[in-house]
Symmetry: C2
Subunit: 215 residues, 2 copies
């Protein structure tokens, strides 16, 4: 069964796609244009009532929320492609911990930065300099904690690449490229090396090559 | 091994404790007084570098982020106490989906309401009426989607109680009691019945009986 991914050009769907590539799972994509509001149309809301991207369909199974989709495929195909969950329950626990840190500590400030620096100008909306400044400060404090962690282990959950690292790729890519905030990572030695490692994975390079819209 | 839970009086630690009770896991608690800033002290930051509650210690294993802890114990003791993950990978996927909805759609507005209506007065800080109004509107829209979902299945992930439902208990308790916003649930028939069901579980009543500080 080929997995159908609705998105796929935005950051949250890309989180799912890089996982499917790591797990060597066949997929096809359905383009949903967020800039035209297609994710708020009745047909799409039947699949995802909150009007957010992505959704997957796998036969008659429908699932949304990108990090839930990651967990589903990482577990379903545990022995295929890259193992993204760790080998023991305790390693899996740490994968879950850092996946939650990504969702609750890292994502809110980087999301605000992406929206205000990249997306608002595309939509012709004003940016809020106060939000940009506060978000950069918050993200900096999170990266200080990452720096400490990554001085002890190669990846966030331990010495193995996992969903916790992978989940950082799409939004951080904007920060390191289009947003010209590379210095936030480069001034932190271990965080910088971690980014070079995870962003050079063939799976992520493939995602960037396949999906260039809208930024 | 008895699980040590740091908290335990606040809403996020209570999410963990109700899970441990459902899973029939022995635990003890270490009181951390957030109102005195004990969660920002160096000793505590060694356990949880972001200065947030809760943390658990289980022998020499330390884990933080409440929803990561839920997943760890629900999986580790799959066959003990209440099954909270569903029976199949597809059910587990839906548990994960609704746990993410709780974290990303439900939690942000209810957290803002709790902070502005309950916590700020306790700290002698001003409340923001605009944030209260916007958060109530956002939460109402989320509850409309829950109402639709709960008209089809008894619980969020399906016809079985799971982590996805359990995760809503601590913050919603404030909404339904101390905050006098019960009408938000009562004007939605299925959401109202769902709350009566999950909040009457002996596990949750036990949590309320054990931990009354600070509200």
């Amino acid at each position: 069964m080929v997995v159908k991914v609705y998105g796929p050009d935005y950051a949250n769907p890309k989180r799912v796609i890089v996982c499917l590539i790591e797990k060597e799972i066949e997929f096809e994509t359905v383009h949903v244009d967020g800039f035209k509001g297609e994710h708020k149309q009745p047909e799409y809301l039947k699949l995802q009532p909150f009007g957010l991207l992505p959704v997957i369909q796998d036969g008659d199974y429908t699932l949304y929320e990108s990090r839930a989709i990651l967990r589903y495929y990482a577990e379903k195909y545990k022995d295929q492609g890259t193992d993204l969950l760790g080998k023991t329950l305790e390693e899996r626990g740490l994968v879950e911990q850092w996946l939650e840190v990504e969702a609750h500590n890292y994502y809110p400030p980087i999301y605000n930065l992406v929206m205000n620096i990249l997306v608002s100008p595309l939509l012709g909306l004003p940016s809020d300099p106060k939000v940009i400044q506060e978000s950069e400060e918050k993200l900096g404090k999170v990266l200080d904690i990452y720096e400490e962690r990554l001085s002890k282990t190669k990846y966030l959950a331990g010495d193995f690449f996992s969903l916790a690292d992978l989940s950082h790729l799409p939004f951080t890519h904007y920060l390191m490229n289009q947003m010209k905030k590379e210095y936030m990572f480069r001034e932190r030695k271990h965080v910088s090396a971690w980014w070079d490692d995870i962003s050079n994975r063939p799976s992520w390079k493939k995602v960037l090559q396949l999906y260039k819209y809208p930024i």
